[in-house]
Subunit: 340 residues, 3 copies
């Protein structure tokens, strides 16, 4: 009965350990269509090969969050099958666009370990790199997660806490090298507001609401080959409910931001992300954003945005705390400049 | 808080106004697979590249209704976000087949405006054209929709009512120019009845029933980038229910017609369409059809069909009115001739 | 009202009858993505073009069960629309890999007929062959199913019972001819256990649980163009419930076996399969397997496995009977050898 595995516990991680995650995945137009059907996004860059070619790219790239979910999914069986909580992200950067036909693989390095004082759990920090079939890194991020110990009696290694940046510096953002916003078509993109039109402190209620059903959450999570038990198996939670994968909330909320951020579709980096409250299927997500910072990258601008996702609560009052808040995401997105 | 838009109101439309709809969309084999999974159609022409090649086409075209939904979806944020009711269609013609890899765009021209006597709403008439990446029109239709006014006090323009044909004339139907039914394989198509076997007045109970779930309706509607609030956001309706996009009913009912119309898969035009009653998810759709007219197009025949969709009511009695009727569609479909 | 068909009854079958099933189907990356989203499989061979190329194949083949479902779906309108029960399978062999872009067709030959003593039903045996666009057989299986008679008064033909093998002999298993396990990457495949590590009698609890929702079952079944009424139309069953297509259970359970059979993804043949109890959506599937037999095929090994699927019952106790058991599948899967 020993061939099936139940995942690593805190004691199974070692500083410096490199974990090659199984099941490389060729992403295709089929994945892009499912992503479209699951979230309903409208950013032209990911929707139209023609639009993308007008910007110098060979085809419409996959939505960066789809790339993230596929890479993240690979890490779950190795890193977080026995996780109690997903604590945070840092230094999450997209390093190259991913296209239909590319094959994604992932490797994680253990960069931090710290037992909790209750001796029953510990925090594991990993730096995960997603690569394409040419071995080029397409995504890198640090994640930390609270993982169960096999038991209190087990001795834990000395605590190592990695230093991570509070936010990705604008200078560290990576634009797809072929991207050229010169031919950007505002009418097809669907919004008139460009880099110069946004200012730090500005708030946008994205107005629309989107309900996520259990099936949608499950199909998305399987698409990403994410095997976390709590998303599929009601026997894995005491309350017998299935928890929606936080990435589903992230993608749904991000799709909602189109209304007001039409030209800021290209996610470049995530500075920090917090699943403030669990989200269960059948409830309706809303979103609002605040511009935290703007940065001129030369070829285009970048907006540092804080987007809040709420549940069953339209965002006219821009809530940032409370039981109705499910997501608090701090990220950078590229946006064309008037000059470009 | 002003960058997100809530859509045009009646006062925002002007006769002659041309609206370029955002978010061009490359349709792919992924969309075709989702369409298959959502409706279960069995028309060989859309299912098999080999079958389509046998008829002179380069590959299986996308189902014309999928093309319609994608084009229609683009118009929603610009035309009908503040619609009260979708009133009708006319002069809906498919002008060229669409294949995986094609990119669809849409433009609408405002051709009619009429304020309602209550001064709270008005009817907007648009002619929408869908084009592919070569700028070729693939679809054209007139639609009219009742849209909210910003307020009763606003002055409305003088009423302009467009003249539309009561039905598309057989002479105006457009066949894919490469299509050649000479090699049509009846066994693979699944039905023996050809053009000569159908006569005006004939009725067909399509027998099968199909239930549509909330998730399916949502996934379809997101796939089409249709943002109408009532399909996703229960807060947008007083009864807190989500309304299923009428196009989902249309596609489901059309797929049901395979049983009895196996060789009439290629929709050429819609003369008129009415969503007789709202459809809510979880109920079972049935369908029956009447042959209204037949037309010899030379290279093939065409059937003018009236297909009625009902809910939770098998169609042995061919009902055309009453609360169980949800769809009343009058359309032309191509069908091979014995001679061809 | 006669053009729509209600399917064959027992009296409509004749020994030796060859039935060409309608609606050839081009399978694509879109189908593969949906299959991934519906079942969540992690076998590297079907997930990554690069991994498959490393084994000598031109791309990742479609999961053999997806091929089976598509072929099987074609037969339903012709064979089992009036079925009372799906009784069994034999001599089910996959004969060539299927890739995105291939077009599948199916033909069935009636090889057995036996009226039941109640005179209301009879058992129909067919041998079905699925072929690709080059006319190469990709799948062959015998299936028997209990079908309604038009009436007790109808005379039945003399009983003919086909001889079928109790199991597919190891010598009759067909490996994809280009397949070469020399470059097999264990880290990417996700498991260390190879042919030599499994022994007859060994049992594996696959640990994970997966819930299937009604929508998922419907979408899968439509994807396969399977028209059996009981899966979509609650009016077709006295209890008003929709029965999940048994193939959905099969694919879900097979995906669960990854945990413990990571290197045995390539299904070569099914010796026998039984849907022990009906499965209704919303319940959680679990699985365990027993190694029945091992066979050295030269280029690789093969495991003969018995996999049991259960519902709402984790498999720590390896149940093989009782109301919680829904699937009992006896099959062969290829697995690399240490030497290879």
């Amino acid at each position: 009965m020993s061939k099936a595995t139940g995942g690593r516990f805190f004691e199974d991680f070692r500083i410096g350990q490199a974990i090659v995650h199984p099941t490389p995945r060729t992403v295709t137009a089929g994945d892009a269509a499912l992503y479209q059907a699951l979230y309903g996004g409208r950013f032209a860059l990911f929707s139209s090969d023609e639009f993308a070619r007008g910007l110098g790219l060979p085809a419409a790239p996959l939505d960066p969050l789809l790339v993230f979910h596929v890479v993240f999914g690979k890490t779950v069986p190795d890193i977080s099958l026995n996780a109690v909580a997903n604590l945070g992200y840092a230094e999450w950067r997209h390093l190259a666009p991913v296209y239909g036909g590319d094959t994604l693989s992932a490797v994680s390095e253990v960069i931090g370990l710290k037992e909790n004082s209750n001796r029953m759990t510990g925090v594991v920090y990993v730096r995960t790199t997603g690569t394409n079939q040419r071995g080029e890194a397409v995504l890198s991020y640090v994640r930390w997660v609270m993982v169960r110990k096999r038991g209190a009696a087990h001795t834990a290694p000395e605590a190592v806490l990695p230093a991570t940046a509070a936010a990705v510096a604008a200078a560290d953002l990576v634009l797809p090298h072929e991207l050229n916003f010169a031919g950007y078509d505002l009418a097809l993109a669907g919004g008139q507001a460009l880099f110069e039109d946004y200012a730090a402190g500005e708030r946008i209620d994205h107005l629309d609401g989107m309900t996520v059903e259990e099936t949608e959450a499950q199909m998305a999570t399987r698409l990403y080959q994410n095997t976390a038990r709590v998303h599929f198996n009601p026997f894995a939670r005491e309350d017998g409910r299935r928890l929606v994968y936080g990435g589903v909330v992230m993608s749904t909320v991000r799709a909602l931001t189109f209304n007001g951020l039409e030209n800021a579709g290209l996610l470049l980096a995530v500075n920090a992300g917090r699943h403030v409250n669990p989200y269960f299927a059948g409830r309706t997500l809303f979103a609002w954003s605040e511009v935290l910072e703007t940065a001129d990258l030369g070829a285009c601008g970048a907006l540092r945005l804080r987007t809040i996702g709420t549940v069953d609560h339209p965002c006219i009052d821009c809530p940032s705390e409370g039981p109705q808040v499910v997501l608090d995401l701090d990220y950078w997105a590229a946006i064309p400049k008037r000059a470009s």
